[in-house]
Symmetry: C2
Subunit: 226 residues, 2 copies
C-alpha cells in the first residue's frame, strides 16, 4: 500500500486510518445493514461486540473516527450509523474503473453486482483476445488494448483493475499509471512496482489467501487420529 | 485466522509459517513460473529482489522454509524452485470445496479457472434460489441447501466457501462446520464466529479492500491543485 506524502492537512473525514480499523468498519456496516433491514432502531457497542467478537472499547474507538457517538444506555442509532459508515467508507460515492483482463477472473468480477453496490463502477473491460473485443460482459463493453489510454483519459477513470496473466501485470500497471489512473487494484499473484507516490496500490491476492488456508489446514491435528 | 493447538510435533514441510512469508511465496512462484515459461534456468536472489522489491536476505530467509538452497554465483534452479514452491504452497494437491451461494460473486468464483489451477476443486454449488437449483455453472452442479450436509459428508469435502448474503453467513458457517468441513473461506464482508479450534477461517473481504483503497485515494494530494 502506498500513498502520497501529502502536504495538505488531512481533514477529519479523510484522515489516514489505521488499516485494521478500515478493515473492521465494513464488518460493522454489514451488521448494522442487517439490523436496519430487520427494522431495529438502536444497537449498543456491547451487542456489536458480542456479534462480531470485537472488544467493545475497540468498537467505540473505531467509530470515533467517523464522528458517530452512541447515546448512553441506548447505543447507536442504526440508520444513522449505517449511512455514516457507508459514506465514510466511500461506498456511496461512484468510482469509475476499467478492468484490464476480461478473462476468467476479470469477467467474473465484471459480473459481480456487489462491486457496483460498493461504489465501484466498471465502465469497460480491456482484453487482447480478439474473441472478446467488441463483446459485452454483464452489459460492460470490452475493448482492445489500444483503447486503454484514450479511455482512461477521456472518461477520467480513477481505478485500474488488473486481472491479466502474471507476465503482463507490470506492463499493464505502467500503462494504467501513464494514462492517469490514481489507484491500481491488483488481482494477480505477483507484486507490482510503482514508483509514483501519488498512486494507490491495493492487492487482493485471492490465490495467496488459498496458500495461507492450505498451510493452516496442513497444521490441524489429523482428524483420523482422534 | 484460527488453528488447532496441535500437540503433534509439526514437521518441516507443514510448519506454521509467519503469514507475511506465506503471502510472499506466491510472488516468488509467479515470478519463477514466468521465468520457466521463458526457458530461463537459473535465477539469483538479487534478481528476484530487483524484480519484486523484496530484500534479498528476506528472500533467502523465506525460501529456507521450503528447504531450497541456491548455489553460489548461480542462484536457484528455476524449475526445481517452481516445483518446490507450488508443492509447498499446497497448489499441487487437490482440495475439494463446496461453494455456498451461487449468486453473483459465488457464480463468478465458480467460473474462475484459476482456483482449479491453484488446487481448489469446487465440486458443487449450493443455493436457495429455485431458478439456480438443478442448473450448472461452468460445469459445476448447483443443489438446494438440503444437500449441503449429505454432500460434505459423502464426498469428504474439506473447504466450505461462503458467498451468501451477510445475514446468512453465520448460519451457513455453522452448517458447514457441523457437516464436517475443516476450512471456511469467507467472501462476505461480515465476520464469522467459529468456536471450533480445528477449523481454519480465511477471510477474503473484497469489499473491505475497496474501503482501504477509497480511503487511501481520498488522502492523495488533489491532482487539480498541482
Amino acid at each position: 500500500m502506498r500513498r502520497g506524502t501529502s502536504e495538505n492537512k488531512p481533514n477529519k473525514a479523510t484522515e489516514l486510518l489505521p488499516e485494521p480499523t478500515i478493515r473492521r468498519l465494513p464488518w460493522y456496516l454489514a451488521y448494522v445493514s442487517m439490523l436496519r433491514s430487520e427494522n431495529i432502531e438502536y444497537v449498543s457497542s456491547t451487542r456489536i461486540s458480542e456479534e462480531l467478537h470485537v472488544d467493545s472499547s475497540q468498537i467505540a474507538k473505531d467509530l470515533s473516527f467517523i464522528n458517530i457517538k452512541g447515546k448512553t444506555r441506548i447505543g447507536y442509532e442504526v440508520a444513522s450509523l449505517e449511512d455514516a459508515l457507508r459514506s465514510f467508507l466511500g461506498f456511496s460515492q461512484r468510482h469509475d474503473a476499467v478492468m484490464v483482463g476480461a478473462g476468467s477472473l476479470g469477467a467474473a468480477l465484471m459480473q459481480d453486482s456487489g462491486l457496483q453496490r460498493y461504489g465501484l463502477n466498471i465502465v469497460a473491460g480491456i482484453d487482447t483476445n480478439p474473441g472478446l473485443i467488441g463483446t459485452e460482459i454483464a452489459g460492460i463493453p470490452v475493448y482492445g488494448p489500444e483503447q486503454l489510454a484514450p479511455m482512461v483519459e477521456r472518461l477520467h477513470i480513477t481505478v485500474g483493475i488488473i486481472a491479466v496473466p502474471v507476465e503482463s501485470a507490470q506492463t499493464v500497471a505502467d500503462a494504467l499509471i501513464a494514462a492517469g489512473v490514481r489507484a491500481l487494484w491488483n488481482f494477480t499473484p505477483t507484486r507490482i512496482r510503482v514508483d509514483n507516490d501519488d498512486v494507490v496500490v491495493t492487492n487482493t491476492s485471492i490465490y495467496s489467501h488459498l496458500a495461507v488456508m492450505y498451510n493452516r489446514l496442513s497444521n490441524l491435528p489429523d482428524p483420523t487420529s482422534r
